[in-house]
């Protein structure tokens, strides 16, 4: 099981094998969802590193990812963001803030009827691009970006 978790965290290349394992009944979807905290991705200091940690380096832009966020946020400490994906078989969405010290803010996996859609509130230290990376069941990655201007920072000092 442990070895499997490692491959799960590595993402991209391994997802085909995982789908096969699910089909064979070896892995229940609930087990697939039980990954450990992805330290490599969350501790990355830039977006490229975080996306790499998710296994999504080289993700292509896709118009099917919708990011709803204010163009100008008056308070960077609480920025409401809605993200959704209409890409078929989206199983995972990650949200990143490019100018934050640790850009990756959240990565969620969806299964058993959960729609690839979520609402959350982010901290933005300064005007940033909010980037969303979607992963599909066949292991492909897609991304989209939206700029949010911040007039008061969210990280204090």
């Amino acid at each position: 099981m442990d070895a499997l978790r490692r491959t799960l965290l590595k993402g991209a290349g391994a997802t085909g094998a995982i789908a096969a394992a699910i089909a064979a009944g070896v892995l229940k979807p609930s087990q697939v969802l039980a990954a450990e905290w992805n330290r490599a991705a969350f501790d990355a200091k830039d977006v490229a590193g975080a996306v790499k940690g998710l296994g999504g380096a080289g993700a292509a832009d896709h118009a099917g990812i919708v990011i709803k966020a204010p163009d100008i946020a008056e308070n960077g400490a609480v920025v409401p963001v809605d993200v959704s994906s209409s890409i078929p078989n989206t199983v995972s969405l990650a949200v990143l803030v490019d100018k934050n010290p640790l850009p990756l803010s959240a990565a969620f996996d969806f299964a058993n009827g959960a729609l690839p859609e979520m609402a959350l509130r982010l901290k933005l230290g300064q005007t940033s691009l909010v980037e969303v990376v979607a992963r599909t069941a066949d292991g492909k990655f897609y991304k989209a970006k939206k700029e949010v201007k911040v007039t008061v920072g969210g990280c204090g000092g």
Binding site: A107, A119, R121
Partner: protein, 104 residues
Amino acid sequence: MADPMKIRAQMKGDTAEIRVLMSHAMETGQRKDNTGATVPSHFIQSITVDVGGKRVIQGQTGTSVSRNPVFGFKVKGAKAGDKVIINWVDNKGDKRTDEATIAA
């Protein structure tokens, strides 16, 4: 022990809309207190949502989620009366599990 979460779950057509408010400081580890000492990071790392006995969402979060995080999710195929169980674990090992029932 952290304060209870506030969970609201309601059916809209064939989809359950779930909103949850978690009570958590979500310290980033970047902030300094009055004496100039860095406030250690303390934030929710892992969130799971189960509906009707099935794991529907497993998420991981970092420090750039706002204090007292609010999340909204939609789950297709859930029914009114299904139980929603939400659990979080933070980087210090604190955890909290709360449940609610989906309203019609």
